[in-house]
């Protein structure tokens, strides 16, 4: 099925377009919207966004491929991003990553077979005073310990209906 924004998505699009004197400036916010609505930015979604903004497809591709936060591949229902930069490293981020790998059975850049979890090692999340930290979808989790990671994973799993 060809991609199409939901009613809420359409309202958001209209709002975003009103913010800039140049439609291209709305591109990144609209790509965020599209990745929320469609899960990730497939080539088809990028074509759709180009059409909706009246921009050449090349503009959309060149921007979408530059930014790590604009997903070009499917992600798990819970996308777990663990900071591995300096401040988190000093407070045990390596142990957090190893623990997540063990618990989820996947490595960074991978997704569980049931598509519930995907894992990524990421750069500084600006949570250095509460390191180590990770982000799951929109939520930050800070001052992590292995026990806390277990609690978070269990809560996410049960919210996913006991899968995984």
């Amino acid at each position: 099925m060809a991609p199409a924004f939901s009613t809420e998505g359409e309202a958001r699009l209209k709002k975003l377009l009103g913010r800039y004197p140049d439609r291209r400036a709305a591109l990144i916010p609209v790509l965020h919207l599209a990745s929320r609505e469609f899960g990730f930015l497939s080539r088809e979604v990028m074509e759709y966004v180009a059409g909706r903004l009246g921009l050449p497809e090349a503009y959309v591709l060149t921007t979408a491929t530059f930014y790590t936060m604009l997903p070009k591949r499917p992600l798990g229902r819970f996308h777990v991003q663990v900071c591995v930069n300096v401040a988190c490293h000093l407070r045990g981020a390596d142990g957090i990553v190893e623990h997540l790998e063990r618990r989820l059975g996947i490595g960074p850049g991978e997704m569980t077979e049931d598509r519930t979890f995907s894992l990524e090692g990421v750069q500084c999340l600006a949570a250095c005073g509460t390191a180590p930290a990770m982000q799951v979808n929109d939520d930050y989790y800070e001052d992590l310990t292995l026990a806390k990671v277990d609690e978070i994973l269990d809560a996410l799993r049960s919210s996913a209906g006991g899968a995984a």
Partner: protein, 447 residues
């Protein structure tokens, strides 16, 4: 003139900018108003734009984004006779590793920053302002959008700010996970919907900025400082810091300290006071091995620098940079090579790829540092790293190249023996290597 009341002025490390203690929730608009909110906007509207700009210049406010360029001087670069609209853009793309101060305003106390934006836009003659927030802050972005709507409804934004002839719109704009977009011209490219590749300068953004129009780009904390200046005046603001580097500063503490977090203190507060009085000293009182004073790109210092005053000029004189005032401490037992692998990987990942020395050099440095840590180092690798770093320095369009090179140079120079030992042994002499082997959490915190 009386000082604005603050939430927790008495608490150590709280004050005029940092109003909430750790654990407290958010400052709502009602709470902000009860604390004297929008007095700065009201005062500014009476003073007139030029007087506000003069006040900011006299306050010797140095930009809080990292470079420390005087904000008033920057504003003065706007062309006087351009028929084009002017823009104010706030850089809330906080991404320098070690730095987490702007997040405080974005997540928990946005109105002083928004008020500073209104004052600044008024002073520079901008009718539209964009707040470029790093994309990871999904929830803060939603909260900021609601805060802006509240200000519209309350008459603080829109066609007539508080009944005056001055009109302003503020738009919140999300980034998408690129550190380089914290560089101001890359941020403008990104805001225009393009890849965040820094522009050649000149022309500077003040002349040719957003959509080709004169643009001022300032940091989040800088906006909170502008608000304070408009409220209490330049003289009082200067007295809160140093004569040539005015105001209070939000310092960040991370790494191996007992009480990491944000602390407000006068600009020029000694490192020792930050680490020991605010931070409670190091975990297990272990000796300090290194201090990264202002974010990951600033050259690492040692315990002999504890009496350095944390202001832009003093830290520079000590051989590093104040940067964002984000202090990361690490103690003995931490492997410096392993720590540098994280920094080297970061810059290699974040290089935009535009300039060859940075694109190739950052990847090369990452490979060499990783090889040393993993036991594949070769004699001469230290000199090789210095050579690569020195060929990046000064040879790129933006400061990311320098930012990647400086920590490599500083780490190799300060810990050269340790690098050589890795090469000689064919591996890392540290077990664990992150100085975290024995369950060190926050004081009384993590098991």
């Amino acid at each position: 003139m009386s000082l604005p009341p603050t939430v927790a002025n008495a608490a150590p490390g709280r004050g005029h900018l940092l109003r909430l203690a750790p654990g407290e929730s958010v400052v709502t608009l009602d709470r902000h108003l009860a604390l004297g909110g929008f007095s700065a906007v009201r005062k500014a509207l009476v003073m007139g734009p030029q007087a506000v700009a003069d006040e900011v210049r006299r306050a010797n406010l140095r930009g809080r984004g990292g470079a420390g360029f005087p904000a008033g001087v920057k504003w003065g670069f706007l062309p006087k006779d351009s028929p084009k609209p002017r823009y104010l853009v706030i850089n809330a793309d906080e991404g320098e590793p070690g730095t987490f101060k702007d997040r405080y305003f974005l997540e928990r106390d946005p109105f002083p920053m928004l008020e500073g934006m209104i004052v600044s836009a008024y002073a520079i003659g901008a009718k539209t302002a964009y707040l470029y927030v790093r994309g990871e802050f999904v929830k803060p972005i939603a909260m900021l959008e609601r805060a802006v709507e509240q200000l519209h409804r309350g008459g603080y934004l829109g066609k007539s700010v508080l009944g005056s002839s001055f009109g302003l719109d503020i738009h919140v704009h999300p980034g998408a996970g690129a550190y380089v977009c914290g560089e101001e011209s890359a941020l403008l490219e990104s805001l225009e919907g393009k890849p965040g590749r820094p522009r050649n300068k000149p022309p500077f953004p003040a002349v040719v900025g957003l959509f080709g129009c004169p643009t001022i780009i300032n940091n989040v904390e800088t906006m909170a400082c502008v608000r304070l200046i408009a409220d209490v005046g330049a003289e009082r603001f200067v007295a809160m810091g140093l004569p040539k580097d005015g105001g209070p500063k939000i310092y960040g503490l991370s790494g191996h300290v007992k009480r990491p977090g944000l602390y407000e203190a006068p600009m020029g507060t000694p490192l020792r006071k930050l680490v020991y009085d605010f931070g409670g000293g190091t975990i297990d009182d272990r000796p300090i091995k290194g201090i990264i004073p202002g974010g990951s790109s600033t050259p690492v210092l040692g315990s002999e620098h504890l009496d350095v005053a944390m202001d832009f000029d003093s830290v520079k004189a000590a051989g590093s940079m104040l940067g964002t005032g984000a202090v990361t401490v690490f103690t003995e037992g931490t492997c410096a090579v392993r720590l540098l692998t994280r920094l080297a990987a970061f810059y290699a990942h974040e290089s935009c790829g535009q300039c060859t020395p940075c694109r190739d050099g950052t990847g090369w440095m990452e490979r060499v540092v990783s090889a040393i840590e993993e036991g594949r180092g070769r004699p001469g690798d230290c000199d090789l790293l210095l050579s690569i770093a020195n060929q990046i320095m000064g040879n790129t369009i933006c400061a990311l190249g320098d930012a990647a090179a400086m920590p490599v140079i500083a780490f190799v120079e300060r810990y050269r023996a340790e690098f050589e030992e890795h090469v000689a042994r064919g591996g890392c002499p540290f077990e664990g290597g992150h100085g975290h082997g024995h369950g060190h959490g926050h004081e009384g915190g993590n098991p």
